[in-house]
């Protein structure tokens, strides 16, 4: 659509989208690119990267293929990142809309809840949640979402409060539009763009949080993640730094891709909304 084309015309949007597209393809075709269980012992331990064509990125202390780990880890990172961001946005949008529309005591009460969640450092919150409930992908997703929903909630509410006062909303009331229709047709579509721009940042933060949780050993133990790979490599950091560096690089590339995409998105969305 037009938005996509505009996005591709900005350098940030093009590079960001490109990086993420590569990532998505890698994640999608992981079983093809690296068949078999990535956690199985595939070869000799601590093979140096770029020496053995069978293991282009080397192997870890137990002889597991690093490239397979990276490729399969991409799945986890993307899945968790996107799922957590969606959950955070969904919760945040609902709470923000409710607070912005209801006003009065409902607004006050909801904002105090938002305050509470914003005060607690989101990573610690996720950490505590996973420690208590136990580590599995759905729990990790929920834990990250719990730490991340407060910002979109506040932003949504601010946007609703601003849009509500615009003349076109007053106009919709004057022509007799039903309040529910006003909420969904006049207000919501105009509230979304800044919140969606925030979405990309939430995805990036979610990916990093997941990696951090895995690094601390609080991720799902049955799957390979970049975080756990970095943790694995910690013990041999001096002799075989590549074990931590490669998954670390993968994280960097992913997060940079997401940030660039969000920059491109906000450029495109703000130029559209800024009518003269």
């Amino acid at each position: 659509m037009r938005l996509l084309r505009k996005l591709l015309r900005t350098p940030e949007g093009a590079i960001g989208l490109g990086l993420l597209a590569v990532l998505a393809l890698v994640a999608l075709f992981a079983p093809v690119l690296a068949p078999g269980d990535p956690l199985r012992i595939a070869g000799r331990a601590l093979t140096t990267p770029f020496t053995d064509p069978a293991f282009p990125l080397g192997t870890d202390r137990l002889g597991r293929d690093v490239l397979a780990g990276i490729v399969h880890g991409a799945r986890t990172s993307l899945l968790v990142g996107l799922a957590a961001a969606c959950a955070a946005l969904a919760i945040g949008l609902c709470v923000g809309l409710a607070a912005g529309f209801a006003g009065g005591i409902v607004d006050e009460a909801l904002m105090r809840v938002v305050d509470a969640f914003q005060i607690v450092p989101s990573f610690l919150l996720a950490l505590a949640f996973v420690s208590v409930i136990g580590a599995s992908v759905p729990v990790v997703v929920l834990a990250i979402a719990l730490g991340a929903w407060a910002d979109p909630a506040r932003l949504t509410r601010a946007e609703v409060l601003s849009v509500r006062e615009r003349d076109y909303v007053a106009s919709a009331r004057v022509i007799g539009m039903h309040p529910v229709e006003i909420a969904f047709r006049e207000i919501l579509p105009n509230v979304l763009p800044p919140v969606l721009a925030l979405a990309a940042i939430i995805v990036a933060a979610a990916i990093l949080t997941e990696a951090a949780l895995s690094f601390l050993g609080l991720g799902d133990p049955n799957i390979v993640t970049w975080g756990s790979m970095i943790a694995e490599g910690r013990n041999v950091l001096r002799s075989s730094p590549f074990l931590s560096v490669f998954p670390g690089l993968a994280l960097v590339v992913t997060v940079v891709g997401v940030y660039l995409l969000s920059e491109g998105l906000s450029k495109v969305l703000s130029s559209r909304g800024g009518a003269t």
Partner: protein, 262 residues
């Protein structure tokens, strides 16, 4: 026939710890097919009155009878249905239209909400309304952002007349337009009034604009109506300081007197 009968409207709101009186015992009437010009400087309360009459803000006291009914007592679905009879045109500083709307959807909304014509006939009705305000029917597909200020105001008028209202409140409807466009929009409004008998409550700080289209003029100052009467009288013989200030504020062109004598 009296269409609108306003008695003793009060409106106060709290601002920074103090109570501001926006409207203080405002009373006025509007007859079918006539234009009442509501003049005043900023802060005189005229916009508050416009918003109160269109039920955008609640009143603190007073009554409004519109079309024989207690207008302020209506609420919910009943109010929404009755709204077809009183429409509004805003100042249009970009904020008057949903940025995502198309010209067609903006005019179709009231047709749909009040079931003015069945679904099949709406396209034609939109085209007819665009035609009435002097815009080509092809504009219906355009995004509202691809339309100039003057054209947007015509679209706002098309939307306002779509429900065949008895009355339209115009809140500084031409103030943001270039002078040449202003004249055309005023001519359109007068023509529509002559064709359909719509009454206008025209709010403006520019007395010249009101002089062009009003039958009667009411002058507001500090939340009160301080003077009212036939347009020519209020302009020709202003009694209150507010009215005199408004009359004096209209810029005159050098040699204007000679031009009008021709």
């Amino acid at each position: 026939m009296t269409l609108l009968d306003v008695k003793n409207l009060d409106k106060r709101y709290a601002s920074g710890g103090r109570t501001v009186t926006a409207l203080d015992g405002v009373s006025l009437t509007l007859s079918a097919g006539e234009t009442l010009g509501l003049a005043g400087a900023s802060g005189s309360g005229k916009s508050t009155l416009a918003r109160l009459l269109t039920r955008l803000v609640p009143a603190d006291a007073g009554t409004v009878r519109f079309g024989g009914e207690d207008w302020l007592a209506l609420s919910g679905g009943e109010l929404r249905r009755r709204r077809a009879r009183m429409q509004m045109v805003f100042q249009d500083v970009l904020g008057a239209f949903n940025p995502r709307a198309t010209v067609g959807s903006v005019i179709e909304d009231p047709l749909r909400i009040h079931d003015i014509v069945p679904k099949a006939g709406r396209g034609r009705e939109v085209a007819a309304l665009l035609d009435r305000v002097g815009l080509p029917a092809a504009y219906a597909a355009r995004s509202i952002r691809d339309v100039s200020g003057g054209q947007r105001q015509r679209i706002a008028i098309a939307r306002a007349i779509a429900t065949r209202p008895a009355m339209i409140v115009l809140d500084e409807a031409v103030s943001a337009l270039d002078v040449s466009l202003r004249e055309k929009v005023l001519e359109l409004l007068v023509a529509l009034q002559e064709e359909s008998g719509i009454a206008y409550l025209f709010v403006s700080h520019d007395l010249a604009v009101l002089a062009a289209v009003s039958h009667r003029i009411a002058v507001m100052d500090a939340g009160r109506i301080v003077e009212s009467g036939p347009a020519a009288e209020v302009i020709g013989n202003p009694q209150s300081p507010a009215a005199r200030a408004l009359v004096g504020a209209v810029p005159r062109l050098i040699g204007q007197e000679d031009r009008n004598a021709v």
